[in-house]
Amino acid sequence: MKQDNRKAADAPRHTPPLRRIRIALASVCFLLLTWLFLDFTGTAQPLAGWLAKIQFLPAVMALNLWVVAGLVVLTLIFGRIYCSVICPLGVLQDLLARLRPRGHKKVGRYSYSPEVRWLRYPVLVLFVIALVAGVGSFVALLAPYSSFGRIASNLFAPLYQWGNNGLAAIAEQQGSYAFYHVDVWMRSLPTFLIAAASLAVLAILAWVGGRTYCNTICPVGTVLSFLSRFSFLKIRFDADKCRNCSACSKSCKASCIDYKNHAVDYSRCVVCGNCLESCKFGALHYAPAFSSQTAGSPSAAKGISHPADAPTNTIEAPSGAVEGATPIPSGATPSPSRRAFLIGSGLAIGTAALAQTKKKVDGGLATIEDKAAPERQTPLTPPGSLSAKNMAQHCTGCQLCVAQCPNQVLRPSTGLLTLMQPTMSFEHGYCRPECTRCSEVCPAGAIRPIQKDEKSSIQIGHAVWVKKNCIPVTDGIDCGNCARHCPTGAIQMVPLDPDNELGAYVPAVNESRCIGCGACENLCPARPFSAIYVEGHEVHREV
């Protein structure tokens, strides 16, 4: 052992501590980005928001050309270091691999395997088709950053929030305002299940094959692999020094080192530096192309030559497939929710009367029934998203906006095509005028940045009155809570019967002024279905 160490130290070239640098940088990026998904106070955004914006796919979606160019250059210089440092899903897999259950060998358990082209390139082709066709659900399913966001916001955030709530309870006892309670609730069951499944699949893949996901499924990894083949800095063999001990191949989580042929598949290498440390003979270097010690490179170059041709064909995928993909879900989706609505509206007629508990004794609290989401013919998308189309085209379903929404308005859509993309509903809160958080955090250009004062003039939908639920009509009680809370003054109370000014007053919505914030719907006393609800607009307007 000691001998080996000395030999390594004697190696003519000093090996830079690539692995340690990589781990340090990756830790910083990963922790900051995870915090961004967990934080609900808005503190993380200014410090960590940029990390979401330099993610590859969101930057492409946002047409953030400087970031894309930067990442391209980065990859052309260093190889797929993006996958080891910047991509949170990549780092998560490294973490999972470390957390492998006991009884398994932790080091040197990998081996070389050839590239799985039959899976890798078709997945990319499908992904690009989905992108172009606007099948956001498929995009969100595969995009690495989105997968991470889904896992962090669905699986990690609740733990973080429960922890916070524990601290908040202690703080309350101490009379401190350092922590405050937050509601922990599931925004969407399908998204939660997908997140859990993604994590399970990732964990298994990471335990079995290290970076299998990155190198066979991840479309971003595949795109970057086209560039990394030509990167300036690469892991290179010094054939003279190599004793064919296989330590490098066993340590390679990307399974991309063929020690027998002294070849590295640069399309899969994520430049983690593990092999450099594993080699006791100084036979591996992370070095530029013109370096003298590139004995293994010819064979490696051969290894990459075939797949290098493939992408040019695949990117320009036939768009004919698009039409086939789109119409599938439209017929199927509404039925369950429509049924729910019919049942619900039946209840609503009853509940209007139930909304008020009769006062018989002094004290006690009336029970409050939970609100139920109405069926919206057009789903609501947050101000700044411009239109349903813009949202569908840009959103990568990363859940950052959902995680950050302080008013608990945003949640992942359950529509098949827009699965996991954000949609709005007002059972827990409404889209408050001072908040533009989602527009600040969105890295993909799906929700464009807006100012507070702009927000009050963006019409994302309009309020619709439902007479049969309205308390002045059903109970003959004065209300007007919707009008009192309308931030744009779009609601006024008018006599239900124009000839009877002493009778019930009901809300009259001036649709041209309504911005669709949902204050009326959220604060309407009718339960479970509000007597006023917001119907979305496909294209947002200025009022």
Binding site: T357, K359, I477, P525
Partner: protein, 481 residues
Amino acid sequence: MDRRSFLKYIGGGIAATASAATLLTSCKPKAAGSDSAADSTPADSTADGEMTMRTNHNTGDRVSLLGYGMMRLPELPDDADEDPQTGLYDQEMINRQVDYALAHGVNYFDTSPAYCRGLSERCTGIALKRHPRKSYYIATKLSNFDPGTWSAKASKQMFENSLKELQTDYVDYLLMHGTGMGSNDAEGNSLNGWQTFEARYMDNGLLDWLVQQKESGRIRNLGFSYHGEVEVFDRLLQWHDEGRYHWDFVQIELNYLDWFYANEINPRNTDAAYLYDELCKRGIPAVIMEPLLGGRLASVSDDVAAQLKQRDPEASIASWAFRFAGTPENVLTVLSGMTYMEHLTENVKTYSPLRPVNEEEHTFLMHIAEEIFGLKTIPCNECQYCMPCPYGLNIPAIFVHYNRCIKEWLVKQSAQEPGYRHARRAFLIGYDRSVPRLRQASHCIGCNQCTPHCPQQIEIPRELHHIDDYVEKLKREGTTF
């Protein structure tokens, strides 16, 4: 919140009526030749519809309760040419208003060499010169604020110049202007209130010179106006007690907000209740400035306006403030800077004659002050008679939280107030802790089913909406606590 102000709040808010009554009656024997606030008016005012007059027991001057403050004189229209003598000021209008004032009993005119870009004395002089000198009283000031005027020579020159501008050979009331305020001396060193007073009036021997002028008849009454550090006020009154100097009158800020909350509005100010009481104890007539607190008591929130109007629909909002300021019997005159004829006619009406604020109205105005200042607690004692609210609100819990925040000074009127950020966080987080969101005031639909059950006759929905508005205001400040 310091302890002093907190205790004061507790004492002040609860015992407003009691202390007001005490103050008004405590100085009866030393008051300016009248019995009590309520009785003095008919005695002092000649007839119904005429200006209430007060007597200065030092000189026997009969002074109108409304004093004309010449610090906000009307200006010429924008396109008019400047007058070589009176600059931008509309002398014709000033003359008209002064004529009107005199015709309606106003006989006290308060000016200063500093007012209206230095032209107030001249404009006042021109207007008054047209009337017999004995028909009015002139008050002006030694406004030697600038260190360049602190020398004996420059200060004396300032007084001589005032006489010249006012076209008279004596002034009825002369004030050392703005005592208690700090300053920077010629070298830029900052001086506190007392140091400034010494530099302006003592080190240069000016106060003694002013006393000589009084003896020679060029000044009929000598006094000071006071703002700022209370130590200066206390020491000057101590001199009066010791017989070192005699103050014929003192000018203080007094209005129903400053009565108990001067210190809260501006930490450098002192509550008018204290200042007035100190003067009253010594029988020093009080001249009142800022009866409207810079107009703040003339333009109040809709809510406050509604309450005032409901009580007296025909009275203007401002008239309440004037009545309050004029009621204490030791008040010689109440100054108002009346720019427009409408101000003048309205104020003349308010004081012709004064309808003194009675005990009940005093309490009412103290509540209004609390409300303006955001200190009004809700008299809920959690009897739960209002509960259950049919719409699920926890009414008593909301009131308890709000009252607690008021008592802990966590309710702030503006984001500029010190401690605002902490107060906002404590209010909002505490609100969510005390009352689940679904049971908070935003869900009150105003059905009013609770109100008849309340033994305290609290208008519950109105108070809940008021709290909800406050919460909404806090929330609009940002998405984070």
